[in-house]
C-alpha cells in the first residue's frame, strides 16, 4: 500500500515539530526554573558588592569580573589558533592520511573529560611552569579544551563554501591568502561563529578545569597571574558546601542572563557585518 507523499510529509513535519517543541520546552523549563528561584536574590547590591559571610550574604562582583576576564583571554588564545589550524587543514593542505589522522585526533580530544584538562593544567602550567593559580594558566587550559570545537566547526564552515568562489577569486589574480581572507572566511563566518559561541558557552560554564588552574580566590584580579573565581565555580562551591542555595540560584541566574547577552550581542554584530557586506 503506497502512502501519499503528502501524508508522509505531514507526519514528518508533525514529528519533527514535536521534537523541536520538546527541546524548546526543556530549555524554557530549565531557564525559568533557575530564574524564578534566583532572580529574587539578584539586585544591584548582588551584582556590585563583594561576597560576605563566606558567600551567605553580599554579592558576586569579583566572580562576574573573573568570568569575563577568563573567558576573554581564553577565546583570544583559542580563536586564532583554532581558525588558523582550520584554514591550514582546509585551504592549504591536501587531504592525506596525515590530515585525516589530525582530524580524528581532534575529535577524540573533544571527548576527554574536563577534569583531565584541569589536572593537566595544574601539573603543567601551575606547578611545572610555576605560573601558580591564575588567569593565564586557566585561560590556556580552557583554550586547549575548546580548540577541537573551534577547529572542527571552522573547518566544516570553510568546506561548505562553494569551490566556484575560490576559482573565481583565483582567476581574478588573488593570492591564496587573499582568497581566504576576503572570500572564504567571510562566507564561513556564521559557522565559525557557532563554534565560537559554543566555546564561549563552554568557557563560562566550565568548572573542573577552572578550579584546578585559575583557583577559587574571591578577589578582584590585578594581573594575569592572579587567581579568580568564576560564577560557575562560585555556584559549585555554594552548592557543594551547602552554604547558601538562594545565592547559588542567584549566581546561576546572573550566569544565564550573561550568556544570553553575550550570544545576542555576538549574533547582532555578526548579522550587521554580513548585512553591510551584502549591500
Amino acid at each position: 500500500m503506497r502512502i501519499s507523499p503528502r501524508y508522509t510529509q505531514a507526519a514528518a513535519v508533525a514529528i519533527l515539530g514535536g521534537a523541536t517543541f520538546v527541546t524548546l520546552a526543556v530549555l524554557v523549563f530549565i531557564v525559568v526554573f533557575v530564574l524564578v528561584k534566583g532572580l529574587p536574590v539578584v539586585n544591584l547590591d548582588f551584582l556590585l558588592k563583594n561576597p560576605e559571610e563566606m558567600g551567605r550574604a553580599g554579592g558576586i562582583f569579583p566572580c562576574i569580573v573573573g568570568t569575563i576576564v577568563l573567558t576573554l583571554v581564553a577565546i583570544a588564545i583559542a580563536l586564532p589558533l583554532g581558525v588558523g589550524t582550520a584554514i591550514y587543514l582546509s585551504e592549504y593542505s591536501v587531504e592525506t592520511r596525515f590530515t585525516r589522522i589530525i582530524r580524528f585526533g581532534t575529535d577524540c580530544l573533544a571527548g576527554i573529560p574536563s577534569i583531565i584538562f584541569g589536572l593537566f593544567g595544574f601539573i603543567f602550567f601551575v606547578t611545572t611552569l610555576k605560573m601558580g593559580w591564575g588567569i593565564l594558566p586557566g585561560a590556556l587550559s580552557l583554550a586547549i579544551m575548546v580548540l577541537p570545537t573551534i577547529i572542527r566547526t571552522s573547518e566544516e564552515a570553510m568546506k561548505a563554501v562553494p569551490w566556484s568562489y575560490r576559482e573565481v577569486s583565483c582567476s581574478l589574480g588573488a593570492t591564496r591568502w587573499a582568497t581566504v581572507l576576503k572570500v572564504v572566511l567571510p562566507n564561513a563566518l556564521p559557522g565559525i561563529m557557532t563554534g565560537v559561541m559554543l566555546s564561549v558557552g563552554r568557557s563560562i560554564e566550565e568548572t573542573a578545569v577552572v578550579i584546578f588552574t585559575a583557583g577559587q580566590v574571591l578577589q578582584l584580579p590585578t594581573s594575569l597571574f592572579d587567581s579568580v573565581r568564576t560564577m560557575a565555580v562560585h555556584f559549585y562551591i555554594l552548592v557543594r558546601e551547602g552554604i547558601s542555595t538562594e545565592n547559588a540560584y542567584g549566581t546561576a541566574a546572573v550566569l544565564i542572563i550573561s550568556v544570553l547577552l553575550v550570544n545576542t550581542l555576538s549574533y547582532w554584530m555578526m548579522n550587521r557585518f554580513i548585512a553591510r557586506r551584502t549591500k
Binding site: 563566606m54 601551575v126 593559580w133 590585578t222 557543594r240 551547602g242 552554604i243
Partner: protein
C-alpha cells in the same frame, strides 16, 4: 578577519594591561586544601587582611590531598587537611590543629527513626539492615548515601564506627552539600555529613542516644568528631606564622565557632 582581529587585539591589550601591573610589593601566601574548611579559611583570611593590609592571603580548595601536595611542591604555604589520620606523605610536614568538626548522621524529616546505635549504623552501611522497620521505622527499603572513597569525612566516619564494609548498592556523592540535598529529597535515605552544613531540610539522628550538640561533643559523649589540620613545610615564618597565630587566637576561634565548626578546645 575583523572579528579575529578584534579578539586578538583585545587579548593583547588585556595582557599588557594586566601584565604591566605586575605583582604588588606585599607579602602573599596561598592556603590550599580541604574544601570543607575552605569557606572558614576565607572568612578568617578576610578578617585577618582587614587587620594586616600588608599581607595578602589567597585561599584555594581542591581537597585535603591536593592541599598536602601543594605544600610539598611549594605551590601553597599552608595546607588544610581534615583527616582523622594523616597519610604518610604528610608526616614530613609540620601540623597544627586549628579546629574540630563533628559528623552528623541525617535522615529525611519524615522518617520516624530518631536514634540509632553504632551497631545499627554499621549494619545499615553493610547492608544487613534492609528495611527501616528493623530500626523502628516504616516498612520501606533503606537507601544509603556515602562519600567517595578518599573523602576525609568518610574515612573519619568509618574509622570511628569501625568495621565498615559499605554495600555496593550505596549511592555516592562527592560533597556534604549534595549529600544533604540527596537526603532532603528522599524519604528513605540515610547519610552523614559535616556538622557545619546542616539545615532545616534534614533531620539529625542521635547516635547511641547522644545528640550531636556542642555540649555533648565537649563532654566527649558524642563520638563522631575529627580534627582540621594546618600543614606547613619546615619552619613557619612571617606571614604564615601570623595567620596561623590569628586562626588560633580567641578572635579566630570565635569566628570558627560562630559559623558552625568547633574550636580546638
Amino acid at each position: 578577519m575583523k572579528l579575529m582581529k578584534i579578539c586578538v587585539l583585545m587579548g593583547i591589550s588585556l595582557a599588557t594591561l594586566f601584565g604591566g601591573c605586575g605583582r604588588k610589593s606585599t607579602d602573599s601566601i596561598t592556603v590550599a586544601g580541604s574544601t570543607a574548611f575552605q569557606p572558614f579559611a576565607e572568612k578568617l583570611a578576610e578578617q585577618f587582611m582587614a587587620k594586616r593590609s600588608d599581607i595578602r592571603i589567597a585561599v584555594q580548595g581542591g581537597g585535603s590531598a591536593l592541599g598536602i601536595e601543594s605544600v610539598r611542591s611549594g605551590a601553597a604555604q599552608i595546607g588544610m587537611a581534615d583527616l582523622v589520620v594523616l597519610p604518610p606523605e604528610a608526616r614530613a610536614l609540620a601540623s597544627v590543629i586549628v579546629a574540630r568538626d563533628s559528623i552528623a548522621v541525617i535522615v529525611h524529616p519524615e522518617n520516624k527513626v530518631s536514634n540509632l546505635s553504632t551497631t545499627q549504623i554499621r549494619q545499615i552501611l553493610n547492608g544487613s539492615i534492609k528495611s527501616w522497620k528493623e530500626a523502628g521505622g516504616n516498612d520501606h527499603p533503606v537507601r544509603v548515601v556515602s562519600r567517595e572513597s578518599g573523602s576525609g569525612t568518610r574515612s573519619s566516619f568509618e574509622q570511628i564506627i569501625g568495621d565498615v564494609n559499605l554495600l555496593t548498592d550505596a549511592v555516592i556523592q562527592n560533597s556534604s552539600g549534595t549529600v544533604r540535598e540527596t537526603v532532603a529529597n528522599d524519604k528513605d535515605t540515610i547519610g552523614y555529613l559535616s556538622h557545619g552544613v546542616l539545615n532545616q531540610k534534614v533531620k539529625i539522628v542521635q547516635v547511641d542516644g547522644v545528640d550531636c550538640t556542642k555540649e555533648e561533643i565537649v563532654a566527649g559523649r558524642y563520638k563522631l568528631v575529627r580534627p582540621v589540620y594546618f600543614l606547613t613545610k619546615g619552619e613557619q615564618s612571617g606571614a604564615m606564622k601570623a595567620f596561623i597565630e590569628y586562626v588560633l587566637s580567641p578572635e579566630g576561634q570565635d569566628t570558627i565557632k560562630k559559623n558552625g565548626l568547633l574550636p580546638v578546645k
